[in-house]
Symmetry: C2
Subunit: 210 residues, 2 copies
């Protein structure tokens, strides 16, 4: 994976900027200063200017940023101007919940199918989708130029699924299985480890109590 020299701490803040800019656009706000943005987002104005300077600064001119321009530019950096097709592997409760989840379709992520290996699940409906057999996965990925695979299978099955999809040309894995996946350099992984998030919460409650 090429490293473009921008730290992960900065890039991880981009989705949150994007979320606030989306809200500003919806409210009809046309310009915003780094100071106003910083008050809304509870980060310092200098942090915002420093973050944005990594991407050329986005043309702040003393009187602030053009909200629409900033929204579009950050969207481009996040790759949201490109439609990305994805499949979900694992039609258990988490996989099903993700089918019904509305959030990603308007960000350019198009769900193409959901797959499972259990005969009792294959052929059942989940929303507008019919659960397909894992045997059909290769053809679907190739025919539809699928870039993202969502892994929502039990942890013991996750590495094998990851190996398969990376072999088939998938570029990104959104991993809900509680395991660290090993992937080749043509693939990137983003983890959603729910149990670990809940443990962080428990820890922060403990600290508060102590």
């Amino acid at each position: 994976m090429r490293n473009n020299g921008i730290s992960r701490a900065v890039t991880k803040r981009l989705p949150r900027y994007y979320r606030y800019l989306t809200a500003l656009k919806e409210q009809g706000v046309e310009r915003i200063s780094s100071k106003e943005l910083s008050e809304k987002m509870k980060v310092t104005a200098s942090q915002i200017r420093q973050d944005f300077s990594n991407f050329g600064g986005f043309g702040q001119q003393g009187y602030g940023y053009n909200v629409d321009y900033l929204y579009k530019e950050i969207g481009k950096i996040l790759g949201l101007d490109t439609e990305r097709k994805m499949v979900i592997i694992g039609a258990g409760r988490m996989g099903q919940a993700l089918v019904y989840y509305q959030g990603f379709s308007k960000r350019g992520f198009t769900l193409t199918g959901i797959f499972d290996k259990a005969p009792s699940v294959i052929g059942t409906k989940v929303g507008d989708f019919t659960v397909q057999s894992l045997d059909e996965l290769e053809q679907v990925i190739k025919d539809n130029d699928i870039k993202i695979a969502v892994i929502a299978v039990p942890k013991l099955a996750a590495q094998e699924v990851a190996d398969t999809v990376c072999d088939l040309g998938v570029e990104g894995i959104w991993n809900f299985a509680l395991v660290d996946l090993k992937v080749p350099s043509n693939c990137v992984v983003e983890n959603v480890h729910l149990v670990e998030s809940l443990m962080n919460l428990a820890y922060n409650i403990s600290v508060k109590e102590s």
Copy 2:
């Protein structure tokens, strides 16, 4: 919230240590050196020693750590030795998925109920639970000493729910709504912002492609 002087970067790694120690215990491993643990976890041995030194070092004696002791001590730090009761607010797909999700019950998190305000949902079954009216929330929280509320409602409703549960004595919010919640000092929030996680993935794919 009291600050115990340990950085968030360190404490965020604890759940992952705990996960690896759980696996080692399951495999019957009794002792492990920081070097062996570092190879498994793909972090440096010095990072591990440095992290553990924040908590007194856990008695590493040259020949390694006692796995069971380390597992228990990190579990205590994470507050996993205390049973914590939680409720889910919002019985949409995400709330329902979390009811069926198996991962947290064995970590000491006990689900006590699921709540919604929609009459069409109240009274329906989700697994072993019957969706209760939000009107009953106050009584349930008080009667059961509920410490954690999971917010799985639409983003426009989330702040009001957060205000309510913090008022009722809940100490931690596990927030799935795509909004930054404002909470009083008696409450802590841990966010699971799925759309932002997917945007991070898209960004990392874009970087790889460029």
